[in-house]
């Protein structure tokens, strides 16, 4: 029998992991909410961000938490440029093209990284990587507690940004009614690019939070992005709150599933949730009607 202590620890650790999933999902759901399309390059961009954080430390000696200060705006710019100059013009507003272009981008980015860095798995060693906080019977790794707090902060900041700034209002206007927004003088292709930039910036933050305790290789993003898809679908495509709650739910489900069923079957649990949600409630548990 499992003791309540172990369950409690698994629950807390699941929440911490779930927060990171939520951060990755946040970018995805934001892009979906505004552009109404799935960004299949999300995982590859996360991988790219993790390599950037890795080399910022390895070559420049930059602590990942400091590197986030540079990488976040850099990835915002990258995402903005990708949407403005490649994805947007190349897909000409057609959903099917959007899927194919982002998939093509994913293939290019992933394999360019594979070519440049080979398939080796890399890790960095930080002095604080193994520090733990003790809460009752649970030991929590400090970097993951930091990640949890930062994710909540980013979600709050994003919510405030969307609520109170002009750009945030413009984004919501475009998401709600594209033509109307365009007629009232909002430059839709700029807003699309800003949204894509924010989504990509979320990945840079996630990468900097992940790298102290995780590894990086050219495939690393895929594992996260499939989970992020699940979260986005579960939380309702386009819903920020849904992504946050969905992320925590999936994190806990994976942690408890792994405890009872073993590592790989625990993962199947996530996909089963995913397929069932898509088939039974495609709008998600919290989402508005599609």
């Amino acid at each position: 029998m499992l003791s309540p202590g172990i369950l409690f620890a698994a629950l807390l650790n699941g929440l911490l992991t779930g927060a990171l999933y939520a951060l990755v999902a946040l970018g995805l759901t934001l892009i979906y909410g505004v552009l109404h399309i799935i960004n299949f390059a999300h995982g590859a961009l996360l991988t790219a961000a993790m390599f950037a954080a890795f080399y910022a430390y390895r070559l420049l000696g930059l602590d990942p938490y400091l590197a986030a200060g540079i990488l976040t705006p850099a990835f915002f710019g990258l995402g903005y440029a990708l949407q403005r100059f490649i994805i947007g013009p190349a897909s000409r507003g057609e959903d099917r093209n959007y899927l194919l272009i982002t998939l093509g981008l994913a293939v290019v980015i992933e394999n360019a990284l594979l070519f440049a860095f080979r398939a080796d798995t890399r890790t960095i060693n930080l002095s604080y990587a193994f520090d733990v906080i003790e809460i009752g019977p649970a030991f929590l790794a400090v970097p993951r507690v930091v990640a949890f707090a930062v994710t909540l902060g980013v979600a709050l900041a994003l919510w405030l940004f969307m609520r109170w700034t002009d750009t945030g209002k413009a984004i919501r206007a475009v998401a709600r009614e594209k033509l109307g927004a365009e007629l009232s003088g909002i430059e839709v292709s700029h807003i699309y690019a800003v949204t894509f930039g924010i989504g990509t910036a979320c990945l840079a933050i996630a990468a900097c939070l992940l790298i102290p305790t995780y590894y990086v290789n050219p495939n690393v993003g895929n594992a996260f992005v499939l989970i992020a898809f699940t979260i986005v679908v579960l939380g309702g495509m386009g819903s920020v709150a849904g992504a946050l709650v969905g992320g925590l739910v999936v994190g806990v489900a994976e942690s408890l599933g792994g405890l009872f069923l073993g590592e790989s079957l625990g993962q199947t649990g996530i996909f089963v949730i995913f397929i069932l949600t898509l088939l039974l409630r495609p709008a998600g548990l919290f989402g508005a009607r599609a």
């Binding site: 490649i86 897909s91 272009i101 790989s264 993962q267």
Partner: protein, 329 residues
């Protein structure tokens, strides 16, 4: 008739390849190319003609491959029979996934996601279930007799995969010129309008998905006979799903010869990249991705479409008058 003549010409040209070279490297390359064309043709039926973009055709490829291997290994069924049953299993899976998706009204991004998820679930299950050999995979026993679907040389394999490609070309050509093909195109262009005009949308999509899965499954069955090995990463790997859509999109989506043309161009370019940059992995695949972006951006109907446009322009210039209708033959 012109369509059939083009198919015949393409197949005849490809059929003489083993007479020109006995090099195993060249034949391996051609088999891989034709396999890609076959999976691509399967994707083309559903994606190209039906407008449903699947991102998980590996589900059918892998199921065909595993079924063929398991039936031989665990139930001692003859390889040729196993091949047929493997294809049927893949078709059945296509019908089941199709029924689930289409009944829930999944389209566009959602359909792409759910097909991807099915392939991923199958991959994880195959990597732990004992019947699929779990993490080790399945090895088919060497038995070099034609009755066992194994041959001394590569040439018979090549002709068999070519025959499968030829059959898929003829089938798709027949679909294109049938009432079913017209219904399928109607569903692709506007599902609601097609439904309002009395097309049974659900049944049409389901039929397209079943045929599509059968073709991709046949490719999987052939794969396992050719390499005599399968594991979860090969069978259900996402790369198969990507290859399945690359060939038709680049060659010409919703055209009979598009997937074959696409596979030939893609694989040749991939080899060329490898020749120029050495054996470092990744760059050839990056080139595939770049081609996908360029084709979607500049040639929405793929290479075949670009060639047709070019021919029309030449004709128009030759005739000195605008050509209003493109002849279909």
């Amino acid at each position: 008739m012109r369509g059939l003549a083009a198919i015949l010409l393409a197949v005849a040209l490809l059929a003489v390849v083993p007479a020109l070279t006995t090099s195993n490297v060249a034949l391996n390359f051609m088999v891989a190319t034709l396999l890609m064309a076959l999976v691509g043709q399967g994707w083309n039926v559903l994606g190209g003609y039906g407008g449903q973009y699947s991102f998980g055709h590996a589900a059918f490829f892998g199921t065909g491959a595993y079924a063929t291997a398991i039936l031989q290994l665990r139930y001692s069924i003859n390889a040729w029979a196993a091949f047929g049953m493997g294809t049927a299993t893949a078709a059945l899976l296509g019908a089941i996934i199709g029924a689930l998706c289409f009944r829930s009204g999944l389209k566009g991004s959602y359909f792409a996601l759910v097909t991807l998820a099915f392939a991923e679930v199958l991959r994880i299950l195959a990597s732990v279930a004992p019947i699929t050999g779990a993490g080790v995979g399945l090895l088919i026993k060497l038995d070099l007799r034609p009755e066992a679907f194994q041959f001394q040389s590569r040439a018979p394999f090549y002709w068999i995969v070519l025959a499968l490609v030829a059959a898929s070309l003829v089938l798709v050509h027949a679909i294109e010129n049938s009432r079913f093909g017209a219904w399928l195109a109607a569903v692709r262009e506007n599902e609601d309008a097609a439904g309002a005009l009395g097309v049974d949308v659900m049944r049409i999509k389901l039929a397209a998905m079943t045929i599509s899965a059968a073709i991709a499954g046949a490719a999987g069955c052939f794969y396992v006979q050719y390499f005599l090995f399968i594991d979860a990463g090969i069978a259900y790997g996402s790369w198969i799903s990507v290859e399945a859509l690359l060939a038709p999109i680049i060659g010409g989506v919703g055209t009979v010869l598009g997937p074959l043309l696409g596979a030939l161009v893609i694989k040749s370019l991939g080899e060329l990249t490898k020749l120029m940059t050495g054996d470092a992995p990744g760059l050839d695949l990056a080139v595939y991705g770049a081609m996908l972006i360029v084709v979607v951006a500049f040639a929405p109907r793929g290479i075949a479409g670009a060639l047709l446009d070019w021919r029309d322009r030449l004709r128009r210039r030759g005739a000195g008058a605008p050509v209003l209708e493109r002849g279909h033959g």
